[in-house]
Amino acid sequence: MSVLEKAFHSPVGRKVAARAGLAEPPVLRRGRTYPGGALVLAQIGEATLGARTLDVLGRPYEAPVLDGGEDVTPGYGDRIGAVVIDATEVTRIDQLEHVRAVLRPAVRGLEGSGRVVILARPAGGDWEQRAVARALDGIDRTVAKELRRGATSNLVRVEEGATPADVASTLEFLLQGRSAFVDGQTWAVGHAPSVAGISERPLDGRIVVVTGAARGIGAAIARTLARDGAEIVAVDVPAAGESLAAVANEVGGTALQLDITAPDAGARIAGLVASRGARIHGVVHNAGITRDKMLANTDQSRWASVLQVNLAAQMRMNEVLLDPAVDGGVAEGGRIVGIASTSGLAGNKGQTNYAASKAGVAGLVEAMAPDLASRAITANAVAPGFIETDMTAKIPFVQREVFRRSNSLSQGGSPVDVAETIGYLLDPASQGVTGQVIRVCGQNLVGA
């Protein structure tokens, strides 16, 4: 810790910081926990999807308090835990008033780490319908910015034909503490021909390969997925073998010392899994590096190493592991998860190589998803924002403090937050979620 950093965290430093408007960031609710307060469901128009999905989850819900233009805004007696707005039948501009009438009392009554979840439809239909779809997005993003004390707002675009069973894992994830650092986001859920039920240990007995598992986000992914029942194959470079072994032993998994840029990396992983007579449920391509320099100073080698590790290697591995003829490859109903980055999606000074690789990961999963659908394999990515790890500890303190605070939750995310989002994508119940890029960034001010 630098002198500056120490001073900042000293009692005096804290007081100064508080006066400067830098309040202590809220402690976020995490894990497989639902909000403490009541769950409110607002059904707009004839919508029933939200209600049926909450029934699948076995969560009781209450009717909303509506702001009908009285002098005093009506309130909830107690703090509420979450409000789910079923806007799947909202197609007209005047229906948006209903959304406001629900949200006004709700945001006032929401508990710390409470939740706003908007269920909507993908853009489609006539001009007004398309405009309304985007309007809901604007509402979600703004509410997310206005909410305080760690509460979040997210929007799910439920495709026509998607059933409550398809939506259940997504709604569960968003209501639970697992989505702590996912805020102001929008992604789509479609219909899958067959989808597993909700479970506390959704990955029980399933093999999941995690690259870059020796430390940081990768180690958190291994731990979180093991909690959910997965058998972890933990991969990292041979030089990181000591901590890799510790992580593997901690989660009861297997350590594989392997540089993912090796030409036979995919084959080595498949070989290990095949020797157990098994196939892979999920591959989490987490290994990644940065070699930051302004483009004006970026040479061939900085460019090549980042693109190789962060993008080319996982493409090569996917080709092998997704080949149905390869023993020990990805099973039907399997999962591919890539790690993009908000820097990649939004661009970031000094990171052209990194941004190219990470935006490339987003492009890759979007491309793979439709091609793998017939085998019920999903491909998605998470895009972490500022996460507290060894990688970001290298950023100078002042800049780091700015990055930390420049999101709606006023703090850096924890590696666990990324891991939980990946766990949600790996869940067999998330069959209808594919080709999505989910940002785990606390609604970082940077980027889309």
Partner: protein, 422 residues
């Protein structure tokens, strides 16, 4: 043997010179690290194994239960029993045979054989004089009497007595013994320096191609063997001064093994157990033989393995040419040269009670990924380093390939084993 015993895999720490990067680690730490890496590689966290056998040549008395304590510190189930064995430099191979034999008899399904030595953390004994004074002080009834006893301590009493590597019955160090053997077998300086240079070259190449990626786990930030000098050449080695055999001697620090720190472990199992768990089966443990020479009577101290090799090959009906690969522990380059000369010497072999010469070895099959001169030689660990290395090499050559391991040990002993690729 009733049950097929297979080598599933191995793990070791990188090896380093005494006082080098692993100097802060005790035998307990090193052995635990070797076990943990092995457990992680094979997904055995929390598993109860049949038994772990390990040992160290230089052992603190507080480490009387070294291996069992390391098991308790490791990720294995605490219900895994363990024992300590010791057979000087052959310890790691002897623990392998101990576990293998129990598996063969059906007493165990699976077990780990290991060895460790820290020459950085060697037990230092106090002199007899000091011990007597301390005992007297302890027995004293009054503080004054105690002070009086302690006042007898002289500076000379405080000089620590490091364990010596001298043979108790001859008073000669191992190097001095090998110098005699080298002279007897006309081993030249060039022959020795070539073996040393080759050892470094081959080890460097093996690291380079990732051969050790699934045999070694980094420890204390050290990712590779620290003794290795990839750029060593015969020319560079020829410049070194002799350290054994007087001014005319041919043995140098370059062609003798360095005092080393490190630990190694082998996972052994019955074929059934390995199959049930979907674990690799690299090679089968075929047989082993131990022999000893009468070095106080003038025999070559480190040629114990020759008689063992002859008897083992005769029992198995095998010739030297039947072995695709041979590992001869490089205690000294001179040991390897004299061993091979002894193998080929009709008269010498007959004097050992063998029917004739063992045979000539094609040098291309010898120590193909380098050996102790380049890797280092933490005494008890070396056997447990050799077994998985050879098993992996044989496995790469294909089923049925046979390999021989020969390890010389203090006390004029030699242990030899045969592996066959699955």
């Amino acid at each position: 043997m009733n049950h097929n015993v297979v080598v599933v895999g191995g793990n070791r720490t990188p090896f380093a010179k005494a006082g080098g990067p692993l100097r802060e680690a005790s035998n307990h730490d090193l052995l635990t690290a070797a076990l943990d890496g092995l457990v992680a590689r094979h997904g055995l966290a929390g598993v109860r194994l049949g038994e772990v056998a390990g040992g160290a040549v230089l052992k603190h008395s507080k480490d009387f239960n070294l291996t069992r304590e390391a098991v308790l510190s490791s990720a294995l189930s605490p219900l895994t029993p363990a024992c300590d064995l010791q057979q000087a430099c052959a310890t790691g191979l002897e623990t392998t045979m101990y576990i293998a034999n129990k598996i063969a008899l059906g007493q165990l399904d699976a077990g780990i054989a290991a060895g460790v030595d820290s020459t950085s953390d060697a037990p230092i004994a106090v002199s007899d004089g000091l011990r007597r004074i301390l005992l007297a002080a302890q027995a004293a009834k009054t503080p004054a009497a105690r002070l009086k006893a302690l006042a007898r301590i002289r500076p000379s009493h405080l000089a620590p007595q490091a364990p010596s590597v001298a043979e108790p019955r001859t008073g000669l160090s191992m190097g001095e013994h090998q110098a005699l053997t080298g002279a007897r077998w006309s081993v030249t300086r060039e022959e020795q320096d070539e073996i040393a240079a080759e050892s470094h070259r081959k080890l460097a190449a093996a690291w380079q191609e990732g051969f050790f990626d699934d045999l070694v786990t980094p420890y204390l930030g050290l990712a590779k063997d620290a003794i290795l000098r990839p750029d060593t050449t015969v020319e560079k080695l020829s410049a070194l001064r002799p350290v054994f055999g007087g001014p005319e001697g041919t043995m140098t620090a370059g062609n003798s093994t360095a005092l080393s720190d490190g630990a190694a472990a082998v996972l052994l199992a019955s074929e059934t157990w390995a199959k049930e768990r979907g674990l690799p089966m690299l090679a089968r443990i075929v047989d082993a033989e131990i022999a000893a020479v009468d070095h106080p009577g003038g025999d070559d101290l480190l040629l114990g393995p020759v008689a063992a090799t002859g008897r083992l090959l005769a029992r198995q009906g095998l010739e030297v040419s039947d072995f695709a690969l041979v590992e001869i522990h490089e205690a000294f380059a001179s040991t390897v040269v004299s061993t091979l000369k002894a193998w080929a010497d009709e008269e010498y072999c007959r004097s050992l009670g063998l029917d004739g010469a063992i045979g000539e070895l094609d040098r291309d099959r010898l120590n193909v990924t380098g050996s102790s001169l380049a890797v280092g030689h933490p005494f008890a660990a070396t056997g447990a380093r050799l077994v998985p290395t050879l098993a992996k090499l044989l496995h790469e050559k294909g089923p049925g390939s046979k390999g021989l391991i020969s390890v010389c040990a203090a006390g004029g002993q030699g242990l030899v084993a045969i592996l066959e690729a699955v």
